[in-house]
Symmetry: C2
Subunit: 682 residues, 2 copies
């Protein structure tokens, strides 16, 4: 308790420290996202050609002088020009080949880097981040190596033709920043709760830079990722997400002032009858989600359990070659998904984009879009789970946008051909009535919702992409329907599915459990536990023996084990170990010295002894043996407990750990759950 | 467990029921808000004149043909014209008089209605809504009478010249809808938890219609109002808020397509150096908040404890006359605050508004604005707490907007006179650099933040008012500074202050408590409790006697009171009463029949007995006597407990109720807290 100006300054710094940390995390995430955007854009364009004036420029920057994107600029050299392949077929085959080669090269390098340097960089990282925020430690998952390799990897894979996005990895990378930066501050280094707060904020920053949606990021962190979200965390997360967005805007990676490519502004409103089609898109989105999750998990399980797991790099090469061969032939699959989504979202004002706005011929683009959405579905299902950094959000949105735009084009054609049909009565007689771009956006929201089962945060993200409150209602209805349809098949989103498949110890905070089990049915019975008896003769040796013989994470301490087993406290394995190590250094303590766990310390005994009480949890949370299991689960979830002791009139009956709870839950839900000991309690 | 289509349909309806309820609440809130907007606008304009063509039209609707607001329209008859007072002074005095008369008339009717029909309609209602969502029942607070009287009252007071807003009351009214509508559905009528979920959603809808900010509403409900906010609630709240906003937009009360008058669009960006002035506004906002809360609570305490409390209507008359006399003389105080805020937020593009955009004369409007903000401060401090429906948000925003615009004008004048000053180096040489309207908005956010200490939700509300992400960062920084400055004086916002003053039993979920007390220091000791002894001879008569003699809310049940007092369970007063009442009707039961509270039921005893076990909580939550008090508070907050039993090795030592916790907390914070028994546990 310091007084005076110095004390006040210390308090101020103390209060500021948290803000400084999230500020740094936000800035780092924003800059990292900008670098990844720029690099991957350049690499991606390298598949088509190179910039003559400066090889390190991507197509857009190379052609910055040319206003219209449609005009070919002279500085940008396509590969066929470079190789002087001039006939039409030679041009096609040269570019096709280069597309396949570069695409596969990028994917292969990424897969190799991941395999050799950082296996944790694979996948989106969101299931693991969820698990970590749920209170478990996966060592090195958020370390330097992951940060570096995943950053490089994500640039490469996004530039390849693989069906994946950088959104999930960006969240993982932001969390890496959120793990590494606080290490500088002692207050954060040793405080798990504070660390987790920063991680929640970092996750928000990740979404903020991935979608240019800071508020959506905070809600995502709240809804999807964070386990325990006190209000202070929310405010800090918001700050962190804002700072990240501002940093990204400052870097301005696309030179358009937009935070992400696919931000749109519509200047037309929607009509009530369109809700019908939006609802249809919602149903499709839900079906897509359910189907995708099942298929993807099946493929992933096969990958994990078969010979395939030894050939992760070969698999990436194969999928990459396959994807690029298929993708090049359909313009809607050739371009990178972020650009595709941007183009599909766009209204038909100003330029056209691959005949999407040619009102005389609707059928060709509609067909191409439908083919693209189906092929992308299968390719994404194979791709998500490969051992490269890969997110599933953007491909899902691309699939939805393709399908949505196809539906939009169809409706548009219908309306143009039958303007007097009763459904279109509310259309203005002159001017365009249907905006197919809006259908693409609604479709993207539907598939996004179907796969992640996010609700509020998804709607807010889409709202921030358009900036207008008008479109929130249709998006909301679509997302709701998509979620309902998806939930009718399986209750879990893709991340929960992966968590279950990987058997991560994660206790869902959203599900409601109503079972008629009591604590005594789930607990590990006292007979199967090792307890420390205060009335027994404990020596340093006997305790060391106990540690050596058993692998338990902790030991209940009881009075008079033989008779009434009255609970006295609980000592965790690490505390016990620490106390023993500390005691050994003391004078007069030998390995046969007595150890005491109760307040009945010997007063007349002259030989030195050790008092273990300070290391013991003297007030563990206890529940009665008849206590309903739902309430125990609530206790675990809301209080962040790791164990609860079960007593009957003060007498110890058993112990329930978080793992017992998880095992109990999974037995209820999924009969073939097994224990996973790779993951450690913190 | 029904099967088949019928069962599935039942399940579907069951799942839909919650959505239908929030849909209805949303629609009701939206329509109610629209009606209040239209009515209060009309009444407000009645102070100035009336519409010749149709007396029930307000000025804007009356003059709908006239495009420019500045031109006087012929259909709108000012009072001086009606009374043919033609000289300048006669015109002034006539209008002044009518202003005072109407204003006072409206306020007086409102005060009278509140006093006679519904005292609960007074004030903003937010402190009470918070308390109700915290788990306490205030009977009739959200009933029909409150809904009707507060709706009428809020129209009247908003139309009067009193310094108050309709935002708080709108939230209260939405909660009334959220309380009344679910009564139709049996599932909701009897389930307190579900009722509270709907109330949380209703609060979100209230903010949604008050500010046209559905997302801000949800976050407000989460941040400020709701005690326990599971994720499902969030999604429903969002839906409810959206529906309310859409309903309001559909009614289009302002005929501008805007949901609230003061939505703005800026087409200029801010400069980094302006953050300095925004920070200054933040400091002022924080100081304003701290000062206002202290002053307002002092006045309110005086009102409650002096003779003044018997003259609530007279007081309203007095304040109303005073306010209208003062307000008429300053144009920025004469118009209703919602219009004022809208005009102050506006950029100087297109029309001018009372010389705010006249760049040659900055000083007159600046001075008028400063006078307005100071006078409004004192008037609002007196007004908030009067026995009329009254919110404090809008007047706070108006004060901040006045002050902010004044600062903006000053900075603008400075920049115009010294364009080469180093601070303004980043200004473009031609064109306007400073946007005073933005200063008004930032100032409004600062005072709003200072008074409510809201954070995320406030920023999101302001974001939704402008719709552009660009202005979020300055607003955020301002709100943050305002909160820090305010918190440096008092940690509580205005609502928490009122809750404390009214001694509502509310346990704040946001504060962190770190004390070195243990459960045994706070508990009511077992010696001071009435316990039921299972080994004693309990008869119906003795139990009835117990109920008659004591006022306790519940009784611990112990084994062998005399010897070891082993805890067996807990029975609440109401359950005991119910069980006794039920037993009395049974055959063979007399008032001397034995009552049993343990599983040792008599088997050989032939006389009839009553088993009270089913009515008893057989697994109450217990904590050890050494359990730290912070953890007990956490248990209460997170598990929504109402009591916890303190034991030592199974032996009952005492009882801690929610009230004990509150008393403990308030003793720590505010030494002169007393018990309040008007409010009841549910």
């Amino acid at each position: 308790q310091q007084k005076g100006i110095r004390g006040k300054l210390n308090i101020l710094f103390d209060a500021m420290e948290g803000w400084i940390v999230v500020l740094a995390v936000g800035v780092a995430s924003g800059i990292l996202a900008a670098i990844i955007d720029i690099t991957s854009d350049w690499l991606s364009d390298l598949k088509e050609g190179y910039c003559e004036t400066a090889f390190y420029l991507n197509r857009r920057f190379c052609c910055l002088g040319y206003d219209d994107e449609q005009i070919e600029c002279n500085e940008w050299i396509k590969w066929n020009t470079a190789l002087q392949a001039r006939s039409a077929s030679a041009e096609f085959w040269t570019n096709y080949l280069f597309y396949i080669i570069f695409s596969t090269l990028f994917a292969t390098i990424a897969a190799y880097l991941v395999k050799v340097y950082s296996p944790y960089s694979a996948g989106s990282g969101i299931p693991e981040v969820k698990t970590i925020l749920g209170g478990f430690v996966i060592r090195k998952f958020l370390g330097w190596w992951t940060l570096i390799i995943k950053s490089i990897g994500v640039c490469l894979v996004v530039a390849s033709s693989l069906c994946l996005g950088k959104e999930g990895p960006l969240i993982h990378l932001a969390c890496c920043c959120g793990n590494i930066i606080p290490r500088v501050f002692p207050k954060f280094r040793y405080n798990e709760a504070k660390k987790r707060e920063v991680l929640s904020a970092a996750a928000a920053a990740g979404v903020s830079v991935a979608f240019g949606a800071p508020i959506g990021g905070v809600l995502f962190s709240l809804e999807e990722v964070s386990y325990y979200f006190p209000f202070r965390t929310m405010w800090r997360s918001f700050f962190c997400a804002m700072v990240a967005a501002v940093s990204l805007a400052f870097m301005n990676p696309f030179r358009t002032g937009k935070l992400v490519l696919f931000q749109v502004v519509y200047d037309r409103d929607w009509h009530a009858f369109e809700l019908l089609f939006f609802a249809l898109l919602g149903v499709i989105g839900g079906l897509y989600g359910a189907l995708f999750i099942r298929m993807n998990l099946k493929i992933a399980a096969f990958r994990q359990n078969s010979w395939l797991r030894f050939f992760s790099v070969h698999e990436v090469v194969f999928v990459s070659v396959l994807t690029s061969i298929v993708s090049y032939l359909n313009i809607f699959m050739r371009v990178n998904p972020s650009e595709l989504v941007a183009n599909l979202f766009r209204e038909c004002v100003g330029g056209d984009y691959h005949n999407l706005c040619n009102h005389s011929n609707h059928w060709k683009p509609t067909l191409l879009l439908l083919i693209a959405s189906v092929l992308k579905f299968f390719l994404t299902a194979i791709t998500f789970g490969l051992k490269v950094p890969a997110g599933v959000w953007l491909p899902s949105m691309a699939i939805g946008a393709c399908f949505g735009r196809a539906v939009g084009l169809a409706v548009h054609a219908w309306q143009l051909n039958n303007p007097n049909f009763w459904l279109f009565a509310s259309c203005a007689p002159d001017g365009q009535c249907i905006t197919p771009g809006m259908y693409a956006m609604v479709g993207a929201a539907a598939t996004f919702g179907g796969i992640t089962r996010m609700t509020v945060s998804l709607v807010v993200i889409m709202f921030e992409l358009t900036g207008a409150l008008t479109y929130v209602l249709p998006i909301m209805i679509t997302v709701m329907i998509s979620k309902w349809v998806g939930d009718a098949f399986d209750k879990e989103g893709i991340y929960d599915g992966w968590i279950r498949m990987n058997e991560y110890p994660f206790l869902d905070t959203k599900e409601e459990y109503v079972y008629n089990t009591s604590a005594s049915q789930v607990m590990t019975r006292v007979e199967d536990l090792m307890v420390i008896d205060t009335t027994g003769h404990n020596t340093l040796d006997s305790l060391k023996q106990l540690l050596r013989d058993t692998g338990y994470k902790g030991f209940p301490v009881v009075n008079n084990k033989a008779k009434n087993m009255i609970l006295n406290g609980y000592i965790s394995r690490s505390e016990l170990k620490y106390a023993i190590d500390k005691a050994r250094g003391k004078q007069g303590i030998s390995s046969s010295s007595s150890c005491y766990f109760s307040s009945n310390l010997p007063v007349l005994d002259s030989s030195p002894f050790i008092d273990f009480q300070p290391w013991m949890d003297q007030t563990p949370i206890t529940v009665s043996h008849k206590f309903p299991m739902e309430m125990v689960i609530e206790l675990f979830r809301k209080m962040g407990l790791r164990y609860v002791l079960v007593t009957k009139n003060g007498q110890l009956l058993g112990l329930i750990t978080k793992k017992d709870v998880l095992r109990h839950l999974s037995v209820m839900h999924h009969p073939n759950f097994s224990d996973n000991d790779d993951l450690q309690d913190p």
